[in-house]
């Protein structure tokens, strides 16, 4: 299998995994979250509806019942308690305030209006409560309308329970925000329970409230309005406070949503049914009660079993998904491992072949030298012994042979040094660049003397490098600067400067220069800008320079003006500086 085949098959395996496994899981969860979003929309819609209903009830009773004096709107059924004007007013205020509760209405004015409306409700509720408990009269009960038809001892006054409910409702509307939302929700749950008590009593056919029940008396539509209001209040912020557990996407939320309506409706309906049977004379009170208990027991246990079953199935599929996920993770891990092993193997193979190649280059050039030495030596011997003894042509032939052998020797020597840059390089150690330049100049002594070159150097830093290679690098660059000279004696300037995290070295000369268009070519192996007749050379020197600089993590480039001179520059990262922060040590410059 080729590398490409292997990679593509690996990625197919990865892709297969993604399309076969994960999406099922993802689609499921995204579906649930989509339906969940719908749930929130429905709940918020119910909340708005509730605020509208509560406001409408209040309006109906206040305007229709009291202002227009329609008895039916005040009491619903003849003989029932009526909704007093203050209660109706409070419902209008509560309904409006509830409308302003939404998460989308957090602007200053909405909050201010809501708090103002709720504040009035609180005040009315509080005063009514005080009136009821302390039997005071603030003269607020008949402020709007005269209550002439009331059965109570204090006409137009709302009941204790209504007063408490409005106090709670107003407080909930003011407080219900952010982290205190649960306070409001608990207040509203109390309202709901008290309203339900009254509503159920009506549903079971209670006509007159006596004894303790007197304190709970509410008009029929008052209790219904409280129920509607509390439901609306709870649903207006379905993601906050105590509602979180009920509306959440978790199994707990699902179970709560299934059980809560049942927990409210089942006892109410059962109670009514058993009561009806008693009224019809089928059995007596105690039996009705035990029947109620038993039927509740059966139905709730059934409900609980049903829910447990659903949760069990849900858990099962969840575990199935988890298992599949674990399996695919395991598969992914294995593929990964395999891939890593392959990469490691291939890297090792690559390193091996690289090493072999360098070894080959080294051995080849080394072993090539041996026979070549023979050719060179014997042609030279021929030339020496028989020069002039053969004809002129023979002398020329010998000359060419000697020249060819000599050039090939230089070529092999240069190739050897190029292959040595990678294969025979030493570890980087703190290196005095000045010393390296001095060494290079020593090696170039002859050509410097011959050409009467003037070389200005330094100062130079100490940095992490392969000293022997630095010597070779400077020797090649300075050697070139001297070699490619004009009629003037060469003047070479070698400098170092710190630029960011890199040391920039420059070797500038006053030589023949080159066409800047050729800049890229000159660093390539075997590329030469001059014929052998103009300048000797193999075209390897600058390739060696490039390889050395790149091995040190730097880069090399050249600028030139033909006839004026060239500047060869290279960088070497300042590893010492990053290694130990002691810049004083590093910046100690050495003069050549």
């Amino acid at each position: 299998m080729s590398d490409d085949d292997y990679l593509s098959s690996t990625f197919t395996a990865l892709g297969g995994h993604v399309t076969n496994r994960l999406p099922v899981f993802l689609v499921e969860s995204s579906l649930t979250s989509e339906s969940h979003k719908n749930l929130f929309l429905v709940l918020r819609f119910i909340a708005r509806l509730a605020s509208g209903v509560v406001t409408a009830f209040g309006m109906l009773v206040l305007l229709g019942g009291w202002a227009m004096d329609i008895e039916r709107l005040r009491v619903v059924f003849p003989g029932f308690p009526s909704m007093v004007p203050n209660t109706a007013l409070c419902f209008i205020l509560c309904g409006l305030a509830l409308r302003l509760c939404g998460d989308d209405l957090r602007r200053g004015w909405a909050v201010r209006i809501r708090v103002a409306l709720a504040g009035i409700v609180v005040v009315i509720g509080f005063l009514s409560l005080v009136e009821n408990v302390l039997l005071w009269d603030f003269h607020i009960d008949q402020l709007l309308f005269l209550d002439t038809a009331s059965m109570g001892y204090s006409p137009g006054r709302m009941s204790v329970i209504a007063a408490i409910n409005f106090l709670l409702a107003g407080s909930a509307l003011i407080a219900g925000e952010g982290r205190r939302i649960w306070i409001g929700q608990i207040f509203v749950l109390i309202i709901f329970v008290l309203g339900l008590l009254n509503a159920v009593s009506y549903a079971y056919g209670v006509r007159a409230f006596a004894g303790l029940a007197t304190y709970t008396v509410l008009a029929l539509h008052t209790s219904v309005s409280f129920l509607v209001f509390s439901v609306g209040y709870l649903f207006v912020r379905p993601t906050q406070g105590v509602l979180v557990a009920v509306t959440s996407d978790s199994p707990g939320g699902i179970m709560a949503r299934r059980l809560v309506p049942a927990a409210v409706l089942v006892p109410v309906i059962l109670g009514g049914a058993w009561l009806k049977g008693q009224e019809l004379g089928w059995y007596e009170g105690a039996f009705a009660f035990s029947g109620f208990v038993l039927s509740s027991l059966v139905i709730f246990n059934g409900l609980i079993w049903w829910n447990a079953r659903l949760l069990y199935d849900l858990e099962g599929s969840r575990r199935e998904v988890e298992r599949a996920l674990r399996e695919s993770e395991e598969r992914l891990r294995k593929i990964n491992e395999e891939l890593e092993t392959r990469v490691a193997e291939r890297t090792a193979a690559l390193q091996r072949s690289n090493q072999e190649l360098e070894q080959f280059a080294y051995v080849a050039s080394h072993d090539l030298q041996e026979p070549l030495r023979m050719v060179a030596n014997y042609t030279q011997l021929l030339a020496k012994r028989y020069q002039g003894k053969l004809d002129a042509k023979a002398d020329t032939f010998i000359e060419y042979a000697v020249d060819g052998a000599t050039r090939m020797q230089t070529l092999i020597k240069d190739l050897l040094s190029l292959s040595r840059v990678g294969s025979r390089g030493a570890e980087f150690a703190p290196t005095d660049v000045g010393k390296a330049v001095r060494q290079a100049l020593d090696n170039l002594q002859m050509s410097i003397a011959e050409s009467h070159a003037r070389i200005d150097c330094g100062p130079f830093p100490t940095l992490m490098a392969d000293g022997a290679q630095l010597v070779q690098l400077f020797q090649n660059l300075i050697g070139n600067a001297i070699k490619y000279r004009t009629d003037r004696p060469p003047a070479v300037r070698v400098t170092a400067s710190l630029n960011g995290g890199d040391w920039v070295f420059e070797v500038a000369d006053n030589g023949i220069g080159f066409d800047p268009k050729q800049t890229d070519r000159i660093f390539m192996i075997f590329q030469r800008l001059h014929t052998r007749q103009e300048f000797s050379g193999t075209g390897i020197g600058l390739a060696v320079c490039k390889k050395i600089v790149e091995r040190h993590g730097g880069r090399i480039w050249a600028d030139s003006k033909p006839g004026v001179g060239s500047t060869f520059s290279f960088t070497i990262p300042d590893r010492l500086l990053t290694k130990n922060q002691n810049t004083n040590d590093v910046l100690t410059l050495s003069e050549v």
Binding site: Q369, E370, M374, A376, N377, Y378, L381, K384, T406
Partner: protein, 153 residues
């Protein structure tokens, strides 16, 4: 100046180098008897006068290449230094290798000097002239001591 020609053993497998060395020595003024063997085993047999080399002369100086068939130059050198009869014989390493490890190893085995065969005829001739001028002229060779004693009485 010695009375009899200097017996030199050249251990070299490359016939080209043998001829070149022979030519270079022949241009010199000294009477040098250049004995040649082509591998390490023959070198030791020559020095110990064994087998075909029973009548071989005693070598004054050994010129030893490193890259040899059968026994490498360094192995020959080690055998010479381990042999009480041969250990004083000067050994000049004359090889094409300029590897640092070869140089260090040879001196470690107590080679008397290490010379890398130069590239180029002129340079090679210079080396041969230097060997002549130093080892065969200036240096006092252990194998020649008895000659002096023999002359004295």
């Amino acid at each position: 100046m010695y009375l009899r020609p200097i017996e030199t053993l050249l251990v070299e497998d490359n016939e080209g180098d043998v001829l070149l060395t022979r030519e270079a020595f022949s241009e010199g003024k000294l009477a040098i008897n250049l004995n040649v063997v082509n591998n390490g085993e023959d070198a030791l047999a020559f020095l110990r006068r064994q087998g075909a080399y029973a009548d071989a002369p005693r070598a004054d100086v050994v010129l030893l290449d490193l890259n040899l068939p059968k026994l490498s130059g360094n192995e020959v050198l080690a055998a010479i230094r381990a042999d009480p009869a041969l250990r004083v014989t000067p050994v000049v390493i004359l090889t094409s290798s300029d590897a640092h490890e070869d140089i260090l190893k040879s001196y470690g085995l107590r080679a008397n000097c290490y010379i890398t065969k130069p590239v180029g005829l002129k340079e090679f001739e210079t080396v041969v002239r230097s060997i002549e001028g130093f080892w065969f002229t200036i240096v006092r060779l252990p194998s020649r001591l008895s000659d002096f004693h023999a002359e004295l009485p």
